[in-house]
């Protein structure tokens, strides 16, 4: 090595070693499962200024955050904006993270706040197409792009599927941003109501009531699809 890495010896390395050697009564890392202990280590290193540790944290969550943003906004541009803003806030405020809740909950609080703001702005713009804006200014027909092998050989069924999809999309678009978010997290992401409450900084009971309201609205909107059977 022609030059030394000594100039970049940073405290995080030594502090990480020190933590590893610390008695269990001081550090709780040994009591955690390896995955959580590893994440905690990453968070502490990122808090100490390690960019690579922060990048590793981003990589653990960015795809799921992008998926959530993409499905609630139906716009690649908006989804990218949400991801950028959310992780930028996470970067700024990470030093304030005190391990009082899981990192997932903390991060998703930021993500849902940013996403709800974006959805509210969209509501005021009344953008609600059944097409999705792609990253280069074009549009993608969402329903036409989703392959459904069951309908491939049956054009009439394909058309019906597309119409049903449009109606569902319209019905979801009539929910308030908060109802839409709760429904997304419960119905599509399978999160527990308690976790949804924590992420939205509210109670499980409130999350449940929001889900009830969303379901009631969707029933009313979608009743004609099944001849009133909803």
């Amino acid at each position: 090595m022609s030059t030394s890495v000594l100039g970049v010896l940073a405290n995080p390395f030594r502090s990480a070693l020190a933590r590893r050697e610390a008695p269990a009564a001081v550090g709780t890392l040994r009591e955690l499962d390896p995955e959580r202990a590893f994440e905690e280590q990453l968070i502490r290193d990122a808090q100490a200024g390690s960019r690579s540790a922060f990048d590793a944290l981003v990589r653990q969550h960015d795809q799921a955050v992008l998926r959530l943003a993409l499905n609630v906004t139906r716009s690649e541009n908006d989804a990218q904006d949400i991801v950028q803003e959310a992780f930028l806030k996470a970067y700024r405020y990470l030093p304030n993270f005190r391990f009082e809740c899981s990192f997932y909950t903390w991060l998703y609080r930021i993500v849902t706040n940013v996403a709800l703001d974006a959805m509210r702005r969209r509501k005021t713009r009344r953008e609600d197409p059944a097409t999705m804006a792609d990253g280069v200014g074009g549009t993608i027909d969402l329903l036409g792009n989703v392959s459904d092998d069951r309908a491939m050989a049956n054009p009439a069924r394909e058309l019906e599927r597309k119409e049903v999809g449009e109606k569902i999309h319209e019905a979801l678009g009539k929910l308030t941003p908060r109802e839409r978010m709760v429904f997304e997290m419960k119905h599509y992401q399978g999160m527990r109501l308690r976790a949804i409450g924590e992420v939205l900084n509210t109670t499980e009971e409130t999350a449940k009531n929001t889900l009830f309201r969303a379901t009631k609205k969707l029933r009313a909107e979608l009743a004609p699809i099944r001849g009133g059977a909803l």
């Binding site: 030394s4 690579s52 950028q84 992780f87 030093p95 999705m132 119905h187």
Partner: protein
């Protein structure tokens, strides 16, 4: 509804079942809710494409880079810099200064300094840079001044590149914002160690190589970083994503061609096939397009064999 979502406590499930058995309206209500769930499940879900994910990550990395370059003190006044470490450092500083000053006073009282005698060098030696000046005090003689300062004390570590601690140091060397030569040497040594030596299990070490593969200014070093990641391609999806990003976005045709070559162990992966297919149609370099087409064809053949 809570029952359908699996949110009802077990003790209430039995009570509800008993009630449903005797209540036709309630059974109808449950069936309607189930039908609603099935209907809403038809809403098409969008999965982020590899291209979208890669472009989002690039944009985010640039945003964080800009943020990291901001000076620390605006963050302090904005309240986003943690106060506790600063307060601890300040208290430590104050303690050391106070202790030093008390010791100095005690020393002065016990052993009065001989007049016109200098026991410490007037300026610190150049070999150990001064990190900060902690106190300045005019001396009673009216001519001299006592300056207390802290020095940066370099440390060194020697060891095999198979040693995880050395690898972590090299990973930090890759993140070095100050010395490009340190970055280059660290990439070379770490890539070599990870491609031939024991497993680089530390995700920070792999993360550093992934950073180098994406952002190093030298295409040869980006290619070397990719080689260092090769052993982990099949087990670590982040490594696969890094290769795909290089294939899509790297401005060097040599690096893109290398990425194609390295992707062969995972060519049957659907996202890899999709990217190869796109690259085979859109890449500016005819060799890269041809290589992608061949690899894409191989992947299709593998898919057919599996079926």
């Amino acid at each position: 509804m809570l029952r359908l979502y699996g949110e009802l406590p077990p003790e209430e499930v039995h009570a509800l079942d008993a009630h449903l058995a005797a209540c036709e309206d309630c059974r109808r209500e449950l069936a309607a809710l189930r039908a609603l769930q099935e209907t809403v499940a038809q809403e098409p879900r969008i999965e982020p494409s590899a291209e979208l994910l890669a472009s989002t990550r690039r944009g985010l990395a640039a945003t964080i880079d800009r943020e990291a370059q901001r000076h620390w003190w605006p963050r302090l006044f904005a309240g986003t810099l943690s106060f506790r470490p600063l307060a601890s450092a300040a208290m430590l500083f104050a303690g050391i200064s106070l202790g030093g000053f008390s010791g100095y006073q005690l020393g002065v009282k016990t052993h009065p300094a001989p007049i016109a005698t200098t026991t410490t060098p007037l300026v610190p030696p150049d070999s150990t840079p001064v990190a900060s000046v902690s106190s300045v005090a005019a001396q009673p003689d009216g001519k001299s001044v006592l300056v207390r300062y802290n020095r940066l004390v370099p440390e060194s570590a020697t060891g095999s590149t198979d040693d995880p601690a050395i690898r972590r140091l090299l990973a930090m060397g890759i993140q070095s914002p100050t010395d490009p030569q340190v970055q280059d040497d660290s990439v070379r040594l770490l890539a070599e160690a990870c491609s031939h030596g024991p497993q680089c299990d530390d995700s920070r070490v792999r993360g550093a190589l992934m950073t180098a593969a994406r952002y190093d200014g030298d295409p040869a070093l980006r290619g070397q970083a990719l080689i260092g990641l090769q052993p982990y391609l099949t087990e670590d999806t982040r490594v696969r994503d890094t290769l795909l990003e290089s294939l899509i976005h790297d401005n060097s045709p040599q690096v893109r061609a290398q990425a194609i070559h390295m992707l062969s162990p995972v060519e049957a992966d659907s996202s890899v096939r999709q990217v190869l297919h796109n690259v085979s149609n859109t890449d500016q370099d005819p060799t890269v397009r041809r290589m992608s087409r061949i690899m894409s064809q191989d992947a299709s053949d593998v898919g057919l064999q599996i079926q």
